[in-house]
């Protein structure tokens, strides 16, 4: 039943890319944020396919529940400008569009050629992860071998929190 998973993955990938394009091409910033939410959910599903369901949960909780709220709030606080991708836009930004397309091709070519090198040596890369019991392994590793990660994150997020609060408060409120 490999084809079923493959087809699902391709479907979700295409939807994700379409949503990402929608994020950039839609008229209103608020809609862009909504499209971003769908993109993020798509990426989370990709993680599920890659065998990392824990990160799926984290992605949706943190990104969709946390960061996106920030985006929506700040969009509503900063006002939203109309924006449209049309022919005139393409004419103005022809160089930028070209650069992006070239970037896509070079990047894909690079990654696939590296993978190709892998194949030449006879070590074909296959998906290693098994879904069952994996969250446990991951958390054990997080608290044993990678035990410095969470403290560092704590300090980082705390300082980010303080910094953003300091930035947003007005002078007279301080």
């Amino acid at each position: 039943m490999g084809w079923f998973l493959e087809a699902n993955f391709i479907l979700i990938g295409i939807i994700t890319i379409l949503m990402a394009f929608g994020t950039l091409s839609t008229k209103k910033v608020m809609r862009a944020a909504a499209f971003l939410l769908l993109t993020l959910v798509g990426v989370a599903l990709t993680y599920l396919f890659l065998g990392f369901e824990f990160l799926m949960g984290i992605q949706i909780t943190v990104y969709a529940g946390g960061i996106l709220i920030l985006f929506l709030f700040s969009v509503l606080l900063t006002g939203h400008e109309e924006f449209k991708m049309d022919l005139e836009f393409a004419k103005e930004n022809i160089v930028q569009i070209l650069i992006s397309i070239l970037l896509f091709f070079t990047l894909t070519a690079l990654m696939l050629s590296i993978y190709g090198n892998y194949q030449l040596t006879g070590n074909e890369l296959v998906l290693q992860a098994q879904t069952k019991g994996l969250t446990q392994d991951f958390s054990v590793a997080l608290f044993s071998h990678f035990n410095y990660v969470l403290p560092i994150l704590g300090v980082l997020l705390f300082s980010a929190m303080l910094g953003s609060v300091k930035l947003v408060l007005r002078e007279e409120e301080l």
Binding site: V95, I99, S100, L103, T106, L110, S113, I114
Partner: protein, 702 residues
């Protein structure tokens, strides 16, 4: 099991420090709140109604914390002692040690806790007495502005002494040795507004330092020769040393003891240290600071014994123990004589302490750790008791001079009872604790093979006589003699202190009696042999002839009788003795402390002055006038001219050229910076494309 012992020991050592830490923080907050009101003599002696003895909340809090932390330490110590003495650990060491910082230079220098019979024995004495003295200090220090500061320092002092007792290496011991010096400095100079106290503190500190230099050099030589400082490893490594080296090291280490334990010629600081509050004197003399020296010698006794091993020939190298014994014997006699002529009650006790410590050191010099520790136990108890009661006496009559007191036995019966018991112990009255331990010391000296041991024994007996005499003297003068007319009023108003001023001395008196009962040698249990079994397993005591204790008892009774005769029944003889033309200069000589202070001052001062005068001349005439004024000034002027030319011409030119280049380039490149984020990002992305394309190209070629 072992870990349990170590945890108990940790508890013993850390609890006073925890109390001290809390109190220190509290004291800082308190003094910050009261804006550091200067402590002065006026506001320090606030008179209070004795019946209305009320502790302020501050005092209640501070003393509770202080006493509780020491109590915790005491409980831990009891648990530790029970655990240690009920399990089989004859001579076994239990220790945890940590490498000190792991520097390559400090290899084998370790920090840890060493729990053996000696340290448990000593720790038991220290904690018990410290607990009682803390309780005493609760009332004694009542009304003092420095109450929090006192308890903080006091706890710190106790903790330091306990840490010293449980030290596992010379290095660690030295650290705490110095900290003992520091905290005694703080406590002796506790009443900072009194110039005499400040002076005494400085004196104690400096006299100690002289000895500490000897100690430091002693154990550094030891480290150089053996490569270790751990007490556990040293006994094995010591056999490789030559007798001369061992003896040298032993004598140098004994130098530290001379300073800290107040031996001849550095003992005069101890009497001046009486400027501190009475609880400080009590703890300083009974169990902590001055006993640290005795404890250290006992701790490294294998070193002295090693120096002593083999045939004893004075012409050869083995003279370490002899030095120890002779210094101790001389100190004992000199200090005893001095106690006989002193008038201040605390100073009498101080000189008595010096004399008694010398007994312990004498026992060590005669080769018996057991006898020394035996006498340490009995002396610690009754000396603490004597100081506490002396403090109580001073507290109620407000004077230090014994001739201004008199007939106090009916006014302060509880204090009198306690002090009498302590004095009987000190005098060595037959059957009381002091008698048995002193007897052990004298027997050890008599049977030892130190050169001149018979002379040492005689000196010891004479000192015993003097001890009995001065003890009787101050007891009679303070408690039995009628007071002089001008002092009657002062004495009339005296009465016993409050709960904490009377109960701890009474407990101590009970302890003295308990010890006396324990020390009586019976066929079933002999305390000395039991102690020897723990401290020096494998060594057996001499069979002591019955004549020695009888002789000692006779001498002591003689001393007491003389005292009673001289100071109570026939006071006229004493008066005529004081007028005697032969006695007066001797008396003056003793009262001036044999001019030791003056000699020491001369030794320290005169050579230094001569050398510094010489150096001053050299400095002014040769260095200032010749070298600096002529050579250096002219030379630097010439150099300055050359560098001026170099600076103006070459360096300025380079700098100017650089800024001109930067300006030109900046004008050219300024056009590139549009200030718009998107443009930068586009260029960045384009560069990324080019870079990735290049990498692709490389892979393709490969």
């Amino acid at each position: 099991m072992e870990s349990e012992i170590i945890y108990y020991a940790l508890g013993v050592v850390t609890s006073p420090f925890i109390g001290s830490l809390i109190l220190t923080i509290f004291a800082f907050i308190h003094y910050a709140k009261t804006h550091g009101h200067e402590e002065t003599e006026e506001n320090n002696h606030e008179e209070h109604e004795e019946h209305g003895l009320k502790y302020t909340p501050l005092e209640n809090f501070v003393s509770t914390i202080g006493i509780l932390s020491i109590f915790a330490s005491w409980v831990f110590m009891l648990l530790l002692a029970i655990k240690f003495f009920t399990t089989e650990h004859h001579g076994a060491f239990l220790t945890t040690s940590y490498d000190f910082f792991g520097f390559p230079v400090t290899q084998n220098i370790q920090v840890g806790l060493l729990v053996d019979a000696l340290s448990v024995y000593m720790g038991l004495i220290v904690t018990t007495l410290a607990l009682l003295i803390h309780m005493y200090a609760r009332e004694y220090m009542h009304g003092d502005k420095g109450y929090p500061r006192f308890f903080a320092t006091f706890n710190f002092f106790t903790g330091i002494m306990l840490s010293l007792v449980f030290s596992s290496s010379f290095f660690e011991l030295f650290i705490f040795w110095e900290l003992v010096g520091l905290s005694s400095y703080l406590l002796i100079g506790f009443w900072i507004f009194k110039p005499s106290a400040a002076h005494a503190a400085k004196k104690a500190f400096l006299y100690n330092k002289v000895g500490d230099v000897a100690l430091l050099s002693g154990f550094l030589i030891l480290y150089k020769l053996t490569g270790t400082l751990n007490f556990m490893e040293l006994p094995d490594k010591i056999h490789n040393l030559t007798p001369l080296q061992t003896a040298l090291i032993s004598v140098l280490i004994f130098g530290g003891v001379i300073g800290k334990s107040a031996q001849f010629p550095l003992y005069t600081w101890l009497a001046d240290a009486m400027e501190g509050p009475t609880p400080v004197s009590a703890i300083l003399h009974s169990s902590t600071m001055v006993k640290a020296g005795v404890y250290m010698v006992a701790r490294v006794f294998f070193l002295y014994w090693q120096a002593h091993e083999g045939e004893y020939n004075f012409a050869g190298d083995n003279w370490a123990l002899a030095v120890v014994a002779w210094v101790a014997a001389i100190t004992a006699l000199l200090a005893g004589l001095q106690a006989l002529v002193e008038n201040e009650i605390k100073r009498i006790l101080a000189y008595s302490t010096v004399s008694q410590i010398s007994y312990m050191v004498l026992a060590l010099g005669a080769g018996s750790k057991t006898a020394a520790m035996y006498h340490l136990l009995s002396h610690a108890t009754f000396k603490a008791l004597l100081f506490l009661t002396a403090g109580a006496v001073i507290h109620v009559v407000h004077t230090n001079n014994i001739w201004e007191m008199g007939n106090l036995r009916k006014k302060i019966p509880k204090t009198f009872t306690a002090m009498l018991i302590g004095a009987i112990g000190l005098s060595g009255f037959p059957g009381i604790s002091g008698f048995w331990s002193k007897d052990a010391v004298l027997a050890t000296v008599y049977y030892s093979d130190v050169p001149g041991n018979k002379i040492l024994f005689t000196l010891g007996v004479v000192t015993a006589f003097i001890t009995a005499l001065y003890t009787t003297r101050f007891i009679i003068v303070v408690f039995f003699r009628e007071p002089t007319p001008e002092n009657i009023e002062r004495v009339e108003h005296a009465h016993d202190g409050g709960f904490f001023l009377t109960i701890p001395p009474l407990i101590m008196a009970a302890l003295v009696i308990l010890e006396s009962l324990t020390f009586i040698p019976t066929p079933i249990f002999k305390f000395e042999e039991w102690l020897m079994e723990w401290l020096e397993p494998g060594v057996h005591a001499h069979e002591v002839a019955l004549t020695l204790p009888i002789l000692s008892a006779i001498v002591v009774l003689l001393g007491i009788g003389t005292g009673i005769y001289l100071y109570y029944y026939n006071y006229n003889i004493l008066a005529s003795l004081n007028q005697n033309k032969v006695i007066i200069p001797i008396r003056e000589f003793i009262a001036q402390r044999y001019y030791i202070d003056k000699v020491l001052y001369w030794i320290a001062n005169v050579p230094a002055m001569i050398v510094s005068r010489l150096l001053q001349d050299i400095d002014i005439k040769i260095i200032d006038r010749t070298i600096i004024d002529t050579w250096i000034v002219k030379g630097s002027l010439g150099l300055a001219k050359i560098s001026d030319v170099f600076d103006q011409g070459i360096i300025d030119g380079i700098v100017n050229g650089v800024w001109m280049i930067a300006l030109t380039l900046g004008r050219a490149f300024r056009k590139l910076q549009t200030g718009i984020v998107s443009n930068y990002a586009s260029i960045f992305a384009a560069a990324l494309v080019i870079f990735l394309g290049y990498v692709n190209f490389l892979i393709f070629i490969k």
